[in-house]
Subunit: 199 residues, 2 copies
DNA sequence: CTTTTTCTGTAGCGGTCACTAAAAATAGTC
DNA sequence: GACTATTTTTAGTGACCGCTACAGAAAAAG
């Protein structure tokens, strides 16, 4: 299963590591947004020339899709990680919001959530659709989880969390400090408990 | 003062109306974002050719600047309008959030706030700077107003409102319905009152 | 009238964009 | 060694970007 050496295929071997290239692409897209980072820059930063780029990823959007997958499978998936630690719905949501407050502030030049804000206003419909699909999938997961305790108000409570996260991501991109996001996350968490207890 | 006919100047008269052109530009930028709408499209939509465009506005960013001014002076300035009706801080903030929930959903193809989301991830630093300046100015106005009742916690409470508005704008751009935003605005308003009463 | 001023249309500038055709290079296989 | 398969390099492509030079057109001023 860990046979990374898989009996080298026929032709000339690839001189770069696809996984590492995707990792670097995640950073670039996160730092600067989908539109701002061009294929030329990706190539030079990843150390590959355009034809190799297109042979490996198909298109710029194709690389972006892989980058999004890598990103959502990482520690940046705040809800997924919060869910792993278990607990009540309110506890998991609180951890989700606090984790976002911890991760979203600028690190290495990248701020906010790549999925939520990496393609906002992008001129590329394909890139926007990819991000939108992941955004909706994340919201659906949160809603289904909330429904385990609050089935009647799952949608409304999920929207509360999703919109709060979107606001935090936008604020982080605009330079909000970790302390600012933490204070908001705590207030949002209190609001969630309060709203969940209503009706 | 209403002398719209101001003793026609010397040269060939302009064949288009600058005010109307700015209005159309507001709609275009709001609908599609700064980067996605090019000078060629602006020209054809506004009925003017490139040289007239540059004589009138200086640059694409110049037109965007005027469009932002027009936008912030309109009913889209949710806090400014809420402030006009007076009342306590909590009342004005509630009206601000509810007004945002009313106007952010898609209308005529445009959703969210032009200032908050019209240039997110734009490749043009000038356009981003213009929007960022207005964003910060708006947050400062809200903070100063909140300080009239809650001087010690004005920053924290202003961040609560600003991040909530940013989230609502992002959600609206992603297709959130008016009812969704209204429910969030009401919850955020309750959270504001609750947080303001703390400590 | 001629002159001056300002705007308009035609045409196109240099630059960047995502992307690709063609051939050389490097491996396994026969 | 000859052949096949794959990736590499070189050198671009056409399309679009924001923007402008230039000359003609339309007004007031002399």
């Amino acid at each position: 299963m860990t046979a990374t050496e898989k009996a080298q295929p026929r032709g000339r071997p690839r001189t770069f590591d696809i996984d590492e290239a995707v990792d670097r692409a995640v950073k670039l897209f996160h730092r600067r947004g989908y539109d701002a980072v061009g294929v030329a820059e990706l190539g030079s930063e990843l150390g590959i020339k355009p034809p190799s780029f297109y042979a490996a990823f198909g298109s710029k959007a194709g690389l972006f899709e892989q980058a999004l997958e890598r990103y959502t499978a990482s520690k940046a998936n705040v809800f997924g990680n919060a869910l792993l630690e278990g607990g009540s719905v309110a506890e998991v949501i609180e951890r989700t919001l606090l984790e976002a407050a911890r991760i979203y502030p600028e690190q290495d030049g990248a701020a906010g959530c790549l999925v939520m804000d990496g393609t906002r206003n992008s001129t590329d419909p394909e890139a926007r659709a990819l991000a939108a699909a992941l955004k909706e999938a994340g919201r659906a997961r949160i809603r289904d989880f909330i429904a385990t305790e609050f089935p009647a108000r799952a949608d409304e409570l999920a929207d509360l969390v999703a919109i709060a996260l979107a606001g935090m991501s936008a604020a982080a991109r605009d330079g909000a400090k970790a302390s600012t996001l933490k204070a908001f996350a705590e207030a949002a968490s209190r609001a969630f408990r309060h709203e969940a207890a209503r009706a």
